[in-house]
Subunit: 430 residues, 2 copies
């Protein structure tokens, strides 16, 4: 039985109770949200080490860390170092995007080890899975075999680019894009469709995908193959027509008690983000929205964790439920461990800032504790509440301040100290 | 004659013509905006190396870099290294916050050397200026002497915390803040007022401040002494009551043809930013808004360039005209050169993203060029349009890609290459 089916039957699963506890929300309320699809609890029945999390309406915004080996970078120990960083800094999900080498073995180890939910994009793995076969030689059955293999291994959610069907491709071709298709999976499917002359296999055989996901309780993450890859292309007919398809596919999965998230942009100017969040919620019937970025300018290469944090914070404020991290390496190289860390922190900042803005239960508490520590100029307390206390400590301690209670930024002119002295009737040093 | 007076008299100054050219706006239109105070062109008559910029309605969002020597860090060469970074990455303003040592000499050199506009906060300098005198021993005349000294040296804009008068202090005391006063200048004035029992000298003698600024054409940047230092305190009575005072002070300066900017928060949750921008524009009669951050969460220590970039991008989208950069060192130490660089880039990203969102003339052009280069997988062109092309190059070249036209992130699975191959009828390598 899937989590969705259980919720619809009024059964409070252990996973649901755990999520309800973490979110300080009554289990019955959460159950109703899962039953109607507004919240998903990705929890493959084979993922035994999972500590489940919910994604969706009214819950904390979650973040995902991408990693995985590729043809140019295939050091497994580096990838496990990234896993450790993801867990240390509180990422709720890890997507394994491996597409080269011993992907199946790596994925198996990852699932065994990770309490965070695991996602994959089966099409990335398909080419390696079928040895030296060319893309156009892979059949629809082959693609589904990879999906089933991942499902049996314990993958909690899978990106399925079922929305880029022939109708959506026609809209894309008419929309005059600057950067065409920038989704890796989307471009492969587009190529496959053009080379074989056939319909998108994940669309044509969507019911079979849903069946596999139902059997193992995999949450479908409907991929946005036509996500805009530039400010220029954002919110265009290609993007929105695919979103319409994703909304229809969401309902079809729900009819079989299979949970769905919908993936979203991409590159997008700030003034279009709120509208996109509202349109997604409407077209996709309230399904959780999982966004990559959005990157609010195209010229931030080397700093796209920042362009994405800006867009992600705004997106989550207006309804996005799940943020895929972006690292400084985006558009330039496979991220190393330091890039991964910077990407995670930027994404956590965006998610947390949005949770404060949208009034998620308890979100402000840690900020208030931090600010109380600041007023008291209590550094150890500040390090405790900072997202990355180690960096905060290292920074402050790297430059000795004249007055050891202050920091080198303001020294004896510390506004906190000055104001405290006056309010508490103590002597002023300035 | 000040720039404002000239504009009101219908005289097109060289500075105004230059700004109009840079912004691609008709000089007459800019003149009207300067005349009514919606745009300022900070240009002290003694600052001969200045390449003037405009700040305000309809113009590109500008950014400011803080630097300066302090009791804990007084290496002048490091500060000039920061100046070079500010100029290299296109900061339009530099604020010299020096409060220790040979501040007058440093400021003089800075003004001689900098084409960017220079701002200061005279009260920071006052304590050092009057040797070993205690804060409470400095008189109102003394403070004004420092203001005049800076004005004569060629400072283009000065932060004057004239709004924290006795009325605003009463509101502050009633508002139950978590972090009280976090503005350095604000806390010093509060202390001075409490210790001496007198009214804020910059408020009491505001007409004399305006006279000095009129003589040398200094733009007054009305400081927000009561800016919130935590999410908890944002948009409270203390903050807004001071903003009311700043609005009244704006009008008084305008009556004497002295230009004004108004300074703003601070720490602020995302959901309050838009309202704050609109309230400032209303209460301050359309005067340009110069914001520090806002920082959208309190727990980002070590990464506050990111928390500030999120808030700054949103603020500028809804009306802020000028962003004060925040570095990763904020709250922890005086920033080093690397911190300064990261702060500048984050701030440039925020400003540019907002310019795209608010439809500033030509803002999107560079993004479109970048995206065109991306579609063509033309790396040299991408480095040219990236905000920091050197970092982008270094990143990509640090990991060799199998296919030299791609990068190590996707390698032969590059979505651009795949899509281009299909659209152009070329052979697919996947």
């Amino acid at each position: 039985m899937t989590q969705m089916e259980a919720a619809r039957k009024g059964l409070l699963t252990d996973a649901l109770r755990e999520v309800a506890r973490k979110e300080s929300i009554p289990p019955e309320e959460l159950e109703r949200a899962v039953a109607r699809g507004a919240v998903v609890i990705p929890a493959n029945i084979h993922h035994r080490s999972l500590q489940p999390e919910g994604v969706g309406e009214g819950l904390r915004t979650k973040i995902n860390v991408n990693l995985g080996v590729s043809g140019d970078c295939y050091d497994y120990s580096t990838e496990f170092e990234k896993v450790d960083l993801a867990l240390k800094f509180g990422a709720e999900a890890i997507m394994d995007l491996s597409n080269y080498g011993a992907t199946s073995k790596f994925r198996q180890q990852l699932i065994e080890r990770s309490p965070a939910m695991i996602g994959t994009v089966p099409i990335y793995d398909a080419i390696g899975y079928f040895g030296g076969r060319k893309l156009a030689e892979i059949t629809a059955d082959d693609f589904l075999e990879v999906v089933e293999h991942h499902a049996m291994q314990g993958v909690d959610f899978m990106t399925i680019h079922a929305g880029i069907n022939r109708r959506a491709v026609a809209h894309f071709r008419e929309s005059g894009r600057l950067t065409n298709i920038v989704s890796r999976g989307g471009s492969l499917l587009f190529a496959w469709m053009e080379l074989t002359g056939r319909e998108n296999p994940f669309y044509e055989h969507y019911d079979r995908v849903v069946d596999i996901c139902r059997t193992h309780d995999v949450t479908i993450s409907l991929g946005d193959a036509l996500r805009p890859g530039s400010i220029h292309d954002s919110s265009d007919a290609g993007q929105i027509s695919e979103l319409i398809e994703l909304g229809a596919l969401t309902k079809r999965a729900w009819e079989r008690d299979v949970a769905v998230m919908v993936e979203g942009p991409g590159h997008m100017p700030i003034n279009e983000i709120e509208a996109n969040m509202r349109i997604q919620k409407r077209l996709c019937h309230g399904a959780p929205f999982y966004v990559l970025g959005p990157l609010v300018t195209d010229i931030g290469a080397g700093y796209d964790h920042i362009t994405a944090a800006i867009g992600g914070a705004i997106a989550a404020t207006y309804g996005a439920d799940f943020l895929c991290y972006v690292t400084p390496a985006e558009h330039l190289r496979l991220p190393d461990a330091q890039d991964v860390k910077e990407g995670i922190i930027a994404s956590k900042i965006a998610a947390h800032a949005a949770d404060i803005a949208k009034g998620v239960r308890g979100a402000r508490e840690i900020d208030d504790k931090m600010s109380e520590a600041r007023r008291q100029v209590d550094w150890e307390e500040m390090y405790k509440y900072a997202l990355d206390g180690e960096k905060a400590r290292m920074y402050r301690e790297s430059v000795k301040a004249e007055d050891e209670r202050t920091c080198s930024m303001c020294g004896k002119m510390c506004a906190m100290k000055t104001t405290n002295a006056i309010l508490n009737g103590e002597e002023l040093v300035v």
